[in-house]
């Protein structure tokens, strides 16, 4: 592997390390601070589950971040992660409760602006709304849990020491669950920006289990978080346990559980497909702030106790953080990208060409969009998505969704089904009929991703979308993304 690639990854690893150092305290701070668990025990459990969470369930929230903006060059990803890390560092210095999530979102938008890419408004609104929902949900869950636990305890009447032993075991279990959810949900913050430009290739172990390039990336990120936990979290844990959250161990357990449940909800692909299959509204899979979930849960318990312990200043701090962190990260990212590109002559993005060739227009029409008002644009090409969007926007004939669809189809992406490349790939990553469809296209080239997808759909039913089956759609999209990544030759 190229040394430069490792160099670029360092900013993400740095962000992961900071995440481990700071947010592990949300999970084990109360247990260690109140001396219910030893630091070494907590750190070992935390590290193990952080790595598991990142590799096994990291993909869910990463997907939404990827939709917000696909940072497509390592240099750009490096700068986005570094800008986020810098914003986190600065905010921490000023003592504001900071969220790596908000920082990375700001940094990605900064990159989008710099590279003339389009920020997906749908994804942005989803992410912004979860920042409000997350602490509120944590508060509600904490209230319910606290009532339930106290109800059970008053009926069971455990010995003081027995309660203590159960609380200890409970804190360790909740901590393990919390570490898993934390890294599953937040690994996207540290490593998500590198997904599109990942230097790793997928490989399979004995043809049974495929480790995707994303999972390898997340494993690396998980290790960085674990390193942060081991090296830096002790002091933060002591502060959290002693100062900020002076509460009895059972309340501490409730806080950790509420925090973990919230993070888990916002990352569980399994839960999402169960809800979707039952026709219920789903919970968006978004990286949320672990610190804010904890503050939400503490406030929930505060409300139960009559509102005396609610610290309005902390609430105000969160509000300021919501606005300031992403703004700062975005600004830093934008300015530094400028320097990196012009002073250090590094590639920070790859221009994505968009064209409205007759074939694209035909496909747009096939998708049910009236092309007559933009028929005169046929044959034109654009340097970036933003250029195309501004032209379409000036016309005022297409609504936002239709504009997004047109831009998606116009996106130029060269895909060449290289026979040599196929030999390196893992047939086990998809169904046999799907793989047969891919090999049938061997030697052909496509200028747009959709053209390749359509060709596959013609070859096999396995590549066709099925109405109302979200799990199938997700699996299909994952496999298509894998093929695009393996066979793509860049825009």
């Amino acid at each position: 592997m190229d040394v430069a690639i490792l160099l670029f990854l360092t900013s993400g690893l740095f962000l992961g390390w900071a995440l481990g150092g700071n947010d592990a305290a949300n999970v084990f701070g109360t247990a260690v601070g109140t001396r219910m668990a030893r630091f070494t025990t907590a750190a070992v459990i935390c590290s193990v589950f952080v790595i598991l969470g990142a590799v096994i369930s990291g993909a869910g929230a990463a997907h939404t971040l990827g939709k917000l903006g696909a940072v497509n060059a390592l240099g750009g990803a490096f700068m986005a992660a570094l800008a986020a890390a810098f914003a986190v560092y600065t905010m921490t210095k000023f003592g504001l409760p900071v969220s790596t999530t908000q920082a990375i979102v700001g940094a990605i938008i900064g990159w989008n602006l710099f590279s003339d890419s389009i920020t997906d408004p749908g994804a942005l609104i989803t992410i912004l709304s979860t920042w409000v929902i997350c602490p509120v949900l944590a508060a509600v869950i904490a209230i319910i849990l606290f009532k339930a636990v106290n109800g059970v305890l008053s009926v069971v009447k455990l010995h003081l020491l027995r309660t203590d032993a159960y609380t200890r075991a409970g804190l360790l279990l909740a901590g393990a669950f919390g570490a898993y959810s934390l890294s599953a949900n937040n690994i996207a913050n540290a490593m998500g920006v590198f997904v599109t430009s990942s230097p790793f290739t997928d490989f399979s172990i004995a043809g049974i289990y495929t480790i995707s390039s994303t999972q390898q990336l997340f494993l690396l990120g998980g290790l960085a978080i674990a390193a942060g936990v081991m090296t830096y979290s002790r002091r933060v844990m002591m502060t959290v346990g002693d100062g900020l959250l002076a509460m009895p161990p059972i309340a501490a357990w409730v806080v950790v559980m509420a925090h973990s449940i919230v993070l888990f909800l916002f990352d569980s692909q399994g839960l999402e497909s169960i809800l979707a299959d039952a026709g219920l509204p789903t919970i968006p899979l978004v990286p949320v702030s672990s610190s804010q979930a904890v503050v939400g849960a503490v406030i929930g318990i505060g409300i139960l106790k009559g509102g005396r312990v609610i610290r309005w200043r902390v609430l105000g701090g969160i509000g300021v953080g919501w606005v300031l962190t992403p703004l700062m990260a975005g600004l830093i990212c934008f300015v530094r990208l400028f320097f990196m590109l012009n002073v250090f002559d590094q590639t920070v993005y790859r221009a994505v060409c968009h064209d409205l060739s007759p074939a694209v227009m035909a496909r747009v029409e096939q998708a049910g969009i009236a092309v007559a008002p933009i028929a005169d644009l046929t044959g034109r090409s654009f340097d970036s998505a933003a250029d195309l969007q501004s032209v379409l926007g000036d016309r005022k004939t297409l609504n936002n969704d239709d504009q997004a669809t047109v831009i998606q189809f116009a996106r130029h992406q060269l895909i060449h089904v290289d026979p040599d490349r196929l030999l390196e790939m893992d047939p086990g990553a998809m169904e046999p009929d799907q793989w047969a469809a891919v090999t049938a296209l061997s030697g052909r080239s496509y200028s747009h991703a959709w053209a390749f997808d359509d060709a596959l759909a013609i070859q096999s039913v396995g590549w066709r979308l099925r109405e109302g089956e979200r799990t199938h759609t997700r699996a299909l999209n994952d496999r298509l993304a894998y093929l695009h990544r393996m066979l793509g030759l860049g825009p």
């Binding site: 203590d164 009895p248 161990p249």
Partner: protein, 237 residues
């Protein structure tokens, strides 16, 4: 270890086994400690009963062999309670158990122990000084001892509730207070009667000091109950 027969366990397995073993050890130690605390409270309760009988023996037969036997019993109970108390306290701190209330538990045990010591002190006083208690006061001395013992018995119940059923602490606590008040009334009445009677002042003072020896038990019980009330509030807030 069973898994070793089939080859070395993998690191993940070892981790889970270690965690489970740690949890099991934790629960076993907890069980042992629970029993030790119960035993300590048993010893206090037994001492109270022995004290009652010892006073009865003294009032009927003076410093007889039967009385000395009761004194020996109390001595033994006191020293074995001391051993238990030290073991419990050491374990609480060595294993950092109940970090948020171990200070309170420590305080509670030390104070309960001082009640036990007071039983012993009072009986040693009877054994060494052999006060000559006139017939007219004997019944009141016995009533005073009964009240003091009752207050200690309810203190033991309140302490048990502190460990097992925090909401019930209050139910026992007010009875401790009640018996302490009753003991005070009896002791005041008894002291007045002693000083009205025609006796040398030295004898009066001697008799009074034994009223105080017994009444002190009830006073101590009340002090401990007051502390226990605070510990209880701390745990329920």
């Amino acid at each position: 270890m069973a898994t070793r027969r089939h080859g070395r366990p993998r690191p993940a397995e070892e981790f889970v086994i270690a965690l489970a073993a740690k949890t099991i050890t934790l629960f076993r130690r907890t069980k042992v400690l629970e029993t030790e605390i119960d035993e300590f409270l048993d010893k206090l309760s037994q001492s109270a009963l022995v004290f009652k009988h010892a006073i009865a023996e003294y009032l009927t037969g003076g410093a007889s062999e039967a009385f000395e036997d009761k004194l020996r019993q109390i001595n033994e109970l006191e020293s074995s309670a001391d051993v238990l108390r030290r073991t419990i306290e050491t374990q609480l701190y060595a294993q950092t158990l109940i970090p948020d209330s171990r200070g309170d538990v420590l305080g509670l045990l030390e104070n309960l122990d001082s009640v036990l010591n007071q039983f012993e002190n009072a009986l040693w006083g009877f054994s060494i000084e052999t006060p000559d208690i006139p017939e007219a006061y004997r019944a009141d001395y016995q009533v005073l001892a009964d009240m003091a013992v009752d207050s200690v018995e309810y203190l033991v119940l309140a302490s048990r509730a502190f460990f097992r059923n925090i909401e019930a602490v209050g139910d026992h606590m007010h009875k401790v207070m009640f018996f302490e008040k009753e003991a005070d009334k009896v002791s005041t009445k008894l002291k007045r009667a002693i000083f009205v009677f025609d006796l040398p002042l030295a004898s009066k003072a001697h008799l009074r000091s034994f009223v105080e020896h017994i009444d002190n038990v009830a006073d101590l019980a009340e002090d401990v109950a007051d502390r226990l009330a605070i510990y209880t509030i701390k745990r329920t807030v």
